[in-house]
């Protein structure tokens, strides 16, 4: 695991300690030339501030939107991004890869 990913977990913890709503997104599966490896994290707070990366910028916007919904609902969800889902998600991975991202709220 990259040290930057572990720093993100520390940040998520300190955000939560400060009373901020926090969601954590984690890359759980990749196919093809996915830009970020399995285990990469993105932390999002209730205001949409974020730290880390699940795709090197390609789909972060969509992940953050979903993360805000997860913060509201409290139920984790699995997102899938890739060329095949471009029309559904409007945010495809231009590199031709596909990724699955698990998004959960930090309670």
């Amino acid at each position: 695991m990259l040290s930057t990913d572990t720093d993100i977990l520390s940040a998520a913890q300190s955000w939560r300690r400060d009373g901020r709503a926090v969601a954590l997104a984690t890359v759980i599966e990749t196919w093809g030339s996915a830009p970020r490896p399995v285990g990469s994290h993105l932390a999002v707070d209730g205001d949409g501030n974020f730290l880390g990366s699940v795709s090197g910028g390609c789909v972060e916007g969509a992940v953050i939107t979903e993360a805000l919904e997860v913060i509201e609902a409290g139920t984790p969800r699995v997102l899938e991004f890739g060329v095949a889902d471009e029309t559904a998600w409007r945010a495809g991975l231009s590199c031709g890869g596909r990724i699955r991202v698990f998004v959960e709220r930090v309670d």
């Binding site: 695991m1 040290s3 572990t6 977990l9 520390s10 998520a12 913890q13 939560r16 300690r17 954590l24 984690t26 759980i28 599966e29 399995v38 285990g39 139920t75 984790p76 699995v78 698990f102 959960e104 709220r105 930090v106 309670d107």
Partner: protein, 233 residues
């Protein structure tokens, strides 16, 4: 994720202990498995495999899809002896993501000119370890390369006591036999002494300093990756 689980995961990392977060991706149910509890876990085999590789990933178990967030401390390599082999080893270690520290009390050897950009400590190993150099642990490899018992032995003793996943010592079989006698005299058990790789390095017929460095690093990687750490230790 529960805050207490996140805090525990961060605590394990700060303490340089391995841990795996097991997440059921269907409902988000989670548990943290510390390395010390791994052997008695229902998923012990698959967790041990992931821990050895250091890779996170999805697994299927009892009809559930689980994501394993694998957290392994960064591996440190401590080399005793600012010698020619260590010079050759420095760029190779960097390429392997091994955080290298070179210790040698002989200031003629331990010069920044000979080791540009390398963490270099011109102190006796027993003085340096735990002070200038972070204390050794199971995610450290130690290679003693000076041939000089005054310098090598204290480092080897510290590495054995800390259960470093790799302990290697340069020297012929005759040199090593004398070393075994000294360590036995000092109270180390045959099992502990048997963990020292000597002659050092995989047997690839290495001749030049760079080839010996390669053989040593290959042996370090083998010890790190080939078996779960509990079996190596």
């Amino acid at each position: 994720m529960r805050s207490d689980i996140l805090a525990a995961l961060n605590d394990e990392r700060a303490a340089r202990r391995a841990a795996i977060l097991v997440t059921d991706i269907a409902d988000g149910a989670q548990r943290l498995v510390r390395e010390s509890d791994l052997a008695v876990d229902p998923l012990a085999d698959v967790l041990a495999k992931h821990l050895a590789s250091g890779k996170s990933g999805l697994v299927e178990a009892d009809g559930r899809t689980l994501f394993l967030t694998v957290q392994v401390p960064p591996v440190r390599l401590v080399v005793v002896g600012a010698v020619h082999i260590s010079q050759a080893m420095a760029p190779m270690a960097a390429g392997l993501d091994l955080a290298l520290t070179v210790i040698d009390p002989r200031t003629a050897f331990a010069t920044p000119e000979r080791f540009p950009g390398i963490a270099l400590v011109a102190e006796w190993p027993d003085a340096a370890l735990g002070t200038t150099v972070p204390v050794l642990d199971r995610y450290c490899a130690l290679a003693a390369l000076t041939h000089d018992p005054k310098i090598d032995d204290p480092a080897l003793k510290a590495a054995l006591a800390a259960e470093c996943f790799y302990v290697g010592a340069l020297g012929s079989r005759k040199t090593h036999a004398a070393r075994v006698a000294r360590l036995t005299e000092a109270g180390f058990t045959p099992a502990q002494i048997g963990r020292i790789h000597a002659p050092i390095g995989l047997p690839i017929g290495a001749v030049s300093p760079a080839e010996i460095a390669l053989a040593v690093l290959a042996e370090v990687v083998a010890c790190l990756r080939r078996a779960p750490r509990s079996e190596v230790a």
